[in-house]
């Protein structure tokens, strides 16, 4: 009984050009109350950028408010926006 790969549009968007996860920043991942953000790793395991891994958002904003470079935008989940 395989699990499906249903796609979903996620509310938290990261501007890769501004994100400094590659310099070791994990602020947004650290503060999220629902723990839904993660750092994408390159082929060698080094950090590249943050992203929303789990579509489980309270649209509360600590990730956006605490990001040191303004790379994070919290949109409303499509189902309720």
């Amino acid at each position: 009984m395989p699990l499906a790969q249903t796609s979903t549009i996620v509310p938290v968007v990261i501007d890769d050009a501004l994100c400094i996860a590659d310099k070791g920043c994990t602020v947004c991942v650290d503060v999220c109350p629902l723990d839904v953000l993660r750092i994408v790793e390159g082929p060698d395991g080094s950090p590249v950028t943050a992203h929303m891994k789990y579509d489980e958002c309270w649209y509360c904003m600590p990730c956006e408010a605490d990001c040191p470079t303004g790379a994070v935008t919290v949109n409303l989940p499509f189902l309720l926006k």
Partner: protein, 580 residues
């Protein structure tokens, strides 16, 4: 991150505080200050820096008792009436007496409260009778200020561990079992006293949007506090007194009539008419809201479009930076401008929460539960209409009393078999090769909660709910499947939500009367003071199912006159005044 690792560590502390949102940090600070030698651990599923209902701040204290504006007697009376008489006044009175001291401490932490030209607190009237709402102009800083104090006091903070079960032994509390949400490793914490401050059961009903996390409450509060207290054998009070809130439709956040009300905003029907005299949240008020919709006069709105530009701008400033700041995004997306449009509201899904109603773990005026050494405070403890200041103040009571409790006790022995059994339960979904993901278990449970438990409550529907819950529970216990430790956290939440759903149905069936307006509107039964002027206490029965008992309401310390008793039942505006 997120892979499933095998491991169990055991640590010891004097006082374990579970939940570092609002009540928890205050409990920790008070305990540590009273006994600096005590080893106090504050443990949270999220990161204490930004966790809980106040993660982005709050726009005001909803229930403050400030000398010159209100007395503890008045407040106790107001809450007794608002909660339809079922109140042990001692706890409410003690809160009312001591919350002013807590406000002053918060002030010292750097949290500003609104003052008038004379430097006096500028308290607003929102409740039906008295004046208790104190705005916080820099309310966005509340969590940060609190966190600074925790660091200064060197409180031992453990983030990203989710408590799943309490440990008891020798007839008292012994500690808690916790699971790392990013590695699935176990942490067994032995403690002489435990304070539970895990917040509301905010993911019980399903939001109308269908989005599991689109809740009023911080969605990390999924009811583990209630479930853990239940499994440990503690008593839970009046769970049938659901939390149901008047919210912005779809956004499902507070419309904030508390902010707008003192500035002239109000709740209106589709004609722009006021239909309730008072916007303070109560079951009776929600019943009026429901009746207005049933009477074809809906939708119900928050009305601000009659206010002056400066007033609207001020309301907007507060509502769009504090508490639920994405509210601004929401209105922009819908092209809703407070100046022109009324804001559509709806009746929320159900939850358990004493912060706003009265469904919680039973506690006395010292925040003691029915288990020795176990305390509860904040939204999950049954002091009615607690709100944020109640969480702080009762959290303080818990921390202070816990310090006294640990003086005379050592760690209670517990059965290691309990830890093994919990490991087996927790890890079961990791041992399967495929099955049902936690989000589908959760969705189905919560949809049935909506279908069958959302008031008005009907006996036959609630009995059907129990059958459906049993089926989903069976599926959960035999087929739930997770792929990583994050999903494992969600599976544990699904199981707590299931426990809460069972308790919500059982408690609602037990009280065969109507009370608390919409919160416990049982269509087949009238209000019945003769048989039901009492608390209901739910515990885990010997058969592993909810058991019930009545508990007398303590003698009032502040008498309520006959003609005052129904103040909250009479809040419909009699001759509707057209909007100016």
């Amino acid at each position: 991150m997120d892979e499933i690792l095998d491991g169990t560590t055991q640590i010891d502390c004097d006082i374990l505080i579970i939940g570092g949102g609002t009540a928890g940090p205050m409990a920790a600070l008070k305990a540590k200050r009273k006994n600096p030698k005590a080893n106090v651990i504050l443990l949270d599923k999220a990161n204490v820096k930004r966790s809980g209902a106040i993660s982005m701040g709050m726009d005001g204290l909803n229930n403050s008792v400030i000398p010159g504006y209100a007395t503890p007697e008045q407040y106790t009376k107001e809450i007794t009436i608002a909660n339809d008489g079922i109140v042990d006044q001692k706890a409410v009175y003690r809160y009312a007496e001591e919350c002013y001291g807590i406000i002053q401490e918060l002030d010292e932490f750097g949290i500003r409260f609104q003052k008038d030209q004379n430097g006096e607190y500028d308290v607003k009237k929102v409740h039906h009778i008295g004046t208790y709402v104190l705005p916080m102009p820099n309310g966005d800083t509340v969590k940060k200020a609190l966190y600074r104090q925790l660091r200064k006091a060197r409180i031992n903070i453990i983030n990203r561990y989710m408590a799943t079960r309490l440990l008891t032994g020798e007839g008292r509390i012994a500690g808690a079992i916790c699971v790392n949400t990013r590695t699935a490793e176990f942490l067994v914490v032995r403690a002489k006293a435990v304070v539970m401050s895990l917040g509301a059961a905010g993911r019980l009903g399903l939001p109308a949007s269908g989005y599991l996390y689109g809740t009023y409450e911080n969605a990390s509060n999924s009811g583990e506090g209630y479930s853990m207290a239940y499994h440990a054998g503690a008593g839970l009070a009046n769970l049938e007194c659901f939390q149901i809130n008047p919210l912005i439709k779809d956004y499902n956040g507070p419309a904030c009539a508390y902010v707008a009300g003192p500035l002239g905003g109000y709740t209106s029907n589709a004609q722009g008419e006021r239909f309730i005299e008072c916007d303070y949240w109560s079951g009776q008020m929600m019943q009026e809201f429901y009746d207005e919709l049933q009477g074809g006069k809906g939708p119900v709105y928050l009305k601000l479009n009659h206010l002056a530009e400066e007033t609207v701008a001020e309301i907007e400033r507060v509502l769009h930076i504090v508490e639920r700041p994405t509210r601004g995004h929401f209105h922009r997306g819908r092209n809703t401008d407070y100046r022109k449009d009324m804001i559509e509201m709806h009746i929320s899904e159900i939850g358990f929460c004493s912060g706003h109603s009265a469904s919680g773990v039973f506690v006395d005026e010292r925040a003691r539960t029915t288990i020795d050494g176990l305390y509860a405070a904040g939204d999950m403890a049954n002091v009615p209409h607690n709100y944020m200041l109640g969480a702080f103040t009762n959290g303080a009571f818990a921390g202070l009393d816990a310090v006294d409790f640990i003086k005379d006790v050592d760690f209670a022995d517990f059965d290691m078999g309990d830890v093994d059994a919990e490991r087996t339960r927790v890890l079961a979904p990791t041992k399967r090769d495929d099955g049902i993901p936690p989000n589908q278990i959760e969705y189905k449970t919560r949809r049935f909660v909506n279908d069958y438990l959302q008031p008005p409550k009907v006996t036959a529907k609630m009995e059907l709910a129990q059958r459906r819950f049993e089926e989903v529970r069976h599926d959960m216990e035999t087929e739930m499947y997770v792929r990583d430790s994050h999903e494992l956290m969600r599976s544990l939440e699904a199981s707590a939500i299931m426990d809460c759903a069972d308790m919500a149905a059982a408690a609602s069936l037990y009280r065969t009367e109507s009370r608390w307006g919409l919160y416990h509107n049982r269509v087949e039964y009238e209000r019945d003071d003769e048989n039901w002027f009492c608390h209901t206490i739910l515990t885990k029965g010997d058969d592993g199912k909810p058991a019930h008992a009545k508990k007398a309401v303590d003698d009032y310390i502040v008498e309520i006159d006959e003609d005052e008793k129904d103040a909250y039942n009479n809040q419909r505006v009699t001759s509707t005044v057209a909007a100016e």
